[in-house]
Symmetry: none
Subunit: 237 residues, 2 copies
DNA sequence: TCGACGCTTCGATCGCGGACGAACCTTGGG
DNA sequence: CCCAAGGTTCGTCCGCGATCGAAGCGTCGA
């Protein structure tokens, strides 16, 4: 009789081609939606949903619901490491990743996500707020600091009368695959960006188009758009 | 879209309880007969024969026929290492066996990992080698120093004729969740520990039981067993 | 030479789980 | 308010593989 942890559950999870393909796709580190993973595995959404539920129950992946999307990511670095190890044992190398995302570069750059800014600009926004201590990451949930409250007031964002809606909320960006700022603060900031004339919505689309001086002012206030953000070191996906 | 290595095949092999038990039994490093493995897995000889044929075809075990017996052993150290790694992941995500068993504490203290020492003692061994400069950590891979070569020679470990197998290798310990010493040096050290009478294998298990003077000598040579190791300050997990 | 033993092969059974169609729920956008 | 789309649940089908009985094959000991 052997002792120690039971590898059969995990191995059985990895032993199905569909699930293995999904995990390989997640090896890139990006969070992917259920639909994308279904396409990656070559199965229907129903089947993928079943597989993903099993992987989540098995502790190999983490789910994050975002609107009508379910984003999935590997549960941690140990999982990726073990996958690499198994891959090495299998004797071959090379993994394939999907590179999903909007085809429209403008959409990637800056768009509206319900009522707040998304895309490169939205991610840069949250990066800057985190880097300057206006928002803190408390175990995955965002917290508005006193400095952040002062900043919001100066910027012209009204935070009062929010009701039950959270002030700060991390929203997973579907093009950058990292978090941007949602919640009351996110909505208020975008509203002010409109008001200041930095940017405006493109009709019939979700695209947010910055004016040249507006983009300059935005980058002065928050940071460069479309680069490797500062929040890489934070726990925020 | 799956062009990568076939981890599915190997994982599926590990995903069956019978086969997994057989492999765990083989983690002791000794070759076992088909009948012994059948008893270990709790299946009939016919079923075991089928499983063993699959494991052999999958390259995880090697068969050696002697008379009317078929002896099986793990195909190599890398198989044992991958198994240990998977076990560590299983322990991390909480897939514990339903019955821990009374031998569990002894297994955690000192056991065999294929051909080298694992558990508290194995981790302490690597800690001591690192602390005394006999082994160095070069970006996660271990390097035997000249002082280490001298030490190995004095201790009676033969390092020559190793073939392609690495001299030093870090192997993730599933019970301590830190690395212990594998590779030619790890195997040679355990061999010498046996020869010196410091410890011996408990029959039919992976447990390594130290004698009282043997444990004292080991701790003199390498460091205390079962405490916070010395390598906390090093990069090795 | 014979029987016992160890292992393997063959054949049949059967249960688990992967697959998908259909329906349902929620969300986002107009 | 309505519609479209993403995701999940439910129910069903079906194929793979684990399992074991029975038989076959080689080896060992008397």
């Amino acid at each position: 009789m052997t002792t120690g942890p039971d590898i059969t559950r995990i191995a059985a999870l990895l032993g199905d081609a569909g699930r293995a393909n999904m995990l390989q796709a997640l090896m890139g580190g990006q969070a992917l939606t259920a639909g994308e993973l279904a396409r990656e595995a070559g199965v229907t959404p129903q089947t993928a949903s079943s597989h993903l539920a099993q992987l989540e129950a098995g502790g190999l992946i983490a789910r994050r619901c975002q609107g009508r999307h379910s984003y999935f990511a590997l549960a941690g670095a140990e999982v990726a490491e073990a996958l690499e190890h198994l891959t090495a044992l299998a004797g071959r190398v090379g993994h394939l990743r999907t590179r999903p995302g909007p085809r429209d570069p403008e959409m990637r750059r800056a768009r509206v996500c319900y009522d707040h800014l998304a895309g490169d600009a939205g991610v840069a926004l949250l990066d800057a707020l985190l880097a300057r201590g206006r928002v803190e990451d408390r175990d995955g949930s965002l917290l508005l600091t006193e400095a952040g409250q002062a900043f919001a007031r100066d910027f012209g964002v009204v935070l009062e009368g929010a009701g039950r809606r959270p002030l700060c909320k991390a929203c997973l960006d579907w093009s950058v695959r990292r978090s941007h700022m949602a919640g009351v603060l996110g909505a208020g900031l975008l509203s002010r960006i409109y008001d200041l004339g930095w940017a405006r919505r493109v009709e019939k689309t979700r695209i947010v188009r910055f004016t040249a001086p507006g983009l300059h002012a935005f980058e002065q206030a928050f940071g460069p758009v479309g680069r490797e953000g500062l929040s890489r070191s934070t726990g925020i996906i």
